[in-house]
């Protein structure tokens, strides 16, 4: 069994999980979330195996490094972190239907990684700039942060749907958890994401300082992570003011996630140091 085989399998398992959650929502069969949860767990296990195998394989090739060094690996890692964070949330808050808005994101990341012709799944050697122990700390914190933001994005979409007909007793919407719960969950995810994004920016800055002597150089990826951070800081403060609740917070969290996406993908269209996410 090689890492690529494992990761292709996990793509399908993620697909199945997303399908089950969506089916539970659309066909109003909450019982389906039970097998869906087990499927996500299976996907996490298989992906963990895939990532570990890939790590070992890179050592066998003599270019050993953690599987966090190119777009393919980062997408797989993103699917892995977001399903972990999701599972933790489901375990803690017991609102399984939220999975219908989260697992598809993880599946899309996996599918994009495996199917896009532009993304190479070969294990590549590290360029000199990435050879540092900070790589793991930096990428892990950033991606756990991104995952929390992705989940808060999913919940915000649910919030806006629910807000259309909050008291409806029929249809899909009636199965979505109540508004105040969604609002609270969005907030919890934003807090977690903010903490980890902060940690991600800081580890990146410390790394940059130890690698090329300046902790901040306004390179586009850095700047975009700061923009994202400003947006979520706005959200945190906006919640403190009366009148900024619910919809506005949901919109801000969607804008914040758009900034996350641009930090991740869009920045490669701009010039800069983090060639890292390039296809």
């Amino acid at each position: 069994m090689t890492s690529s085989q494992l990761l292709s399998i996990s793509t399908f398992v993620f697909g199945l999980a997303a399908f089950l959650y969506l089916a539970a929502l659309i066909f109003k069969k909450p019982r389906l979330t039970q097998p869906a949860r087990w499927t996500v767990m299976a996907a996490v296990v298989v992906t963990t195996g895939g990532l570990l195998f890939r790590w070992v394989e890179s050592y066998q090739m003599g270019i050993g490094h953690a599987p966090l060094s190119n777009l393919y690996e980062s997408l797989v890692f993103f699917a892995w972190t977001s399903s972990l964070v999701y599972l933790f949330m489901e375990f803690k808050y017991k609102k399984p239907l939220i999975g219908a808005f989260v697992t598809p994101i993880a599946f899309l990341a996996m599918a994009y990684a495996s199917l896009s012709p532009n993304i190479s799944d070969r294990i590549q050697p590290l360029v000199p700039a990435l050879k540092s122990n900070w790589l793991i700390a930096h990428v892990a914190t950033c991606f756990f942060g991104y995952s929390a933001f992705a989940i808060s994005f999913g919940i915000s979409i649910m919030y806006l749907m629910k807000a259309l007909k909050p008291d409806s007793a029929h249809g899909i919407i009636s199965h979505i958890p109540k508004l105040d719960i969604l609002d609270e969950l969005t907030h919890q995810m934003v807090l977690f994401g903010f903490l980890l994004l902060t940690a991600g920016i800081i580890t990146g800055a410390v790394w940059a300082n130890s690698a090329w002597g300046s902790y901040w150089s306004w390179d586009p990826k850095e700047t975009w992570s700061l923009i994202t951070w400003f947006i979520y800081a706005t959200l945190l403060h906006a919640r403190l003011m009366r009148g900024w609740q619910g919809n506005q917070i949901a919109y801000l969290s969607i804008v914040g996630f758009a900034a996350v996406m641009f930090t991740y993908f869009g920045v490669n269209l701009l010039p800069g140091l983090h060639s890292y996410g390039k296809v």
């Binding site: 050879k131 977690f192 410390v206 400003f230």
Partner: protein
């Protein structure tokens, strides 16, 4: 804030914070789409001369250092400071009061207060309830009055400081950045192998900056993977002060050299164009009457310096024989290869045959390759490593980033405070619970309530749990 002046009020507001944070976010976007600090020609080409003038007056081409962007950061700093002072005035007492005066009404009047009645008397109830509260809230106090008692517990009071720590950390980061930009520098320099420099070019202004020491690049090497992508850039550097080498290190990307507050990083490299293959400022010494020679014994590793007049044999220490300088050659060759100016001499070891040897002036370690018991170098100002490959061997220069930033410790302190402050603020809350026992005619009325300054959902569950324990005790 009640009697404060309008300026103070303006800077206290969280609305201003939101405006500032969003403005910073939106303006920052601009700088990622317009490349910063490029050559003016590139901008003129892209925008035309008129628009170029206009945008450059606005500082758009170096916008993160422009007056208006720095101004926004300054406003944010004032906003944070004013707001924190204002709020801290209010919460200081709450946070640092040693003997909080518990007002039971604060709890009994809550809409989510729970009540029950119990037949036991007050003292029995206190004995039953106090351990329940004390177990979770070590800071637990019982107060008694005539016909009632309160059991009050709290924890996490200091967590209210978390948010001030976060805000303080933002100030530290800004201060650290300021210190760095006033008292630090960031420059770069390209040093050809074998040469030493003591000046660098500053990145922002393009000005020349002189260091107190010289950086010498003794060697540069690059390795590649089989695929041809670079694997490692490595420069052997020496720090030279006066004539002495005070520090030596091989640096690679991610492993810089630090010397006296200045950091030297591997940042780029390149090949020298052919006309620069020979160092430009070669010593134009020409023939001299005598030369200073260094003799290094292979066995002991010791070096000896001696003045050798041309044509006069001198004795080498450690009984290693005699050496005589024969002649100076301006364009010597060694096995068909041009080595520049050189001395020829004859070495007569104490045992064995005399050998004629060549000492190129600019290659200090040339004679080492002969592999004798002793190797000889001519002391001269400009020396470099001799590489025995082909004459048209490529010569590299190493590209170094040279920085000094006395503000880093402020920034790092800010980092630590920000992470810990955020963690405390987000995940630790100030929780208070209170049981009020009132003696009625036949039994006691027990009221229980709890509050938390954040994460109220979780607190609700806790209150629920404690209440059910109370009920069953």
């Amino acid at each position: 804030m009640k009697n404060a002046n309008p300026m103070w009020k303006f800077f206290c507001s969280v609305k201003l914070t939101i405006v500032l944070l969003l403005s910073l976010a939106f303006t920052s976007i601009l700088g990622t789409f317009i490349p910063q600090n490029e050559n003016p020609d590139a901008y003129i080409h892209a925008f035309g001369p008129f628009l170029y003038q206009f945008l450059s007056v606005l500082g758009v081409f170096d916008m993160y250092h422009s007056w208006w962007f720095q101004g926004l950061l300054m406003l944010l700093a004032i906003n944070i400071i004013v707001c924190s002072i204002d709020r801290l005035k209010g919460s200081w007492k709450l946070i640092f009061n040693r003997n909080p005066n518990v007002r039971p009404e604060r709890f009994t009047r809550r809409s989510d207060a729970r009540t029950l009645t119990d037949k036991r008397n007050i003292e029995e109830l206190i004995a039953a309830y106090q351990p329940i509260i004390a177990k979770q809230y070590p800071n637990c106090e019982v107060t008694r009055s005539d016909l009632s008692a309160t059991i009050y517990g709290e924890k996490g009071r200091l967590s209210r400081l978390g948010v001030y720590i976060v805000h303080l950390s933002v100030i530290l980061l800004l201060a650290g950045g300021l210190v760095g930009s006033f008292f630090g520098f960031e420059g770069f320099v390209n040093i050809p192998e074998g040469e030493a420099i003591d000046t660098i070019r500053l990145r922002n202004s393009g000005r020349i900056h002189r260091l107190d020491f010289q950086i010498r690049c003794d060697n540069f090497s690059m390795t590649v993977y089989e695929t041809g992508t670079p694997k490692e850039y490595r420069s052997s550097l020496s720090i030279v002060e006066g004539e002495k080498v005070v520090k030596q290190k091989e640096i690679i990307v991610n492993d810089p050299l630090h010397y006296r507050g200045i950091n030297i990083f591997q940042s780029s490299y390149g090949k020298l164009p052919p006309e620069q293959m020979q160092p430009k400022n070669m010593p134009q010494t020409g023939p001299q009457e005598s030369y200073t020679l260094n003799f290094t014994s292979r066995e002991s590793g010791l070096s000896y310096s001696a003045n050798a007049p041309v044509g006069k044999p001198i004795t080498i220490p450690e009984g290693l024989g005699k050496f005589v300088v024969m002649a100076y050659e301006a364009d010597a060759t060694f096995r068909g290869m041009d080595v520049g100016s050189a001395l020829t001499g004859i070495l007569t070891p104490s045992k064995g045959e005399a050998v004629e040897i060549l000492l190129p002036l600019k290659f200090a370690n040339f004679d080492k390759m002969r592999g004798g018991d002793i190797f000889i170098t001519v002391a001269s100002r400009q020396q470099e490593k001799f590489s025995p490959q082909s004459p048209d061997k490529e010569r590299y220069y190493t590209g170094l980033q040279v920085t000094r930033d006395p503000g880093v410790w402020l920034v790092y302190t800010g980092f630590i405070l920000m992470i810990s402050g955020c963690f405390v603020t987000f995940y630790i809350s100030h929780r208070q619970v209170c049981i009020v026992i009132d003696q009625l005619k036949k039994n006691c009325k027990v009221t229980f309530a709890g509050t938390a300054n954040r994460n109220k959902l979780a607190m609700k569950n806790t209150v629920e749990k404690i209440f059910s324990t109370i009920k069953n005790s």
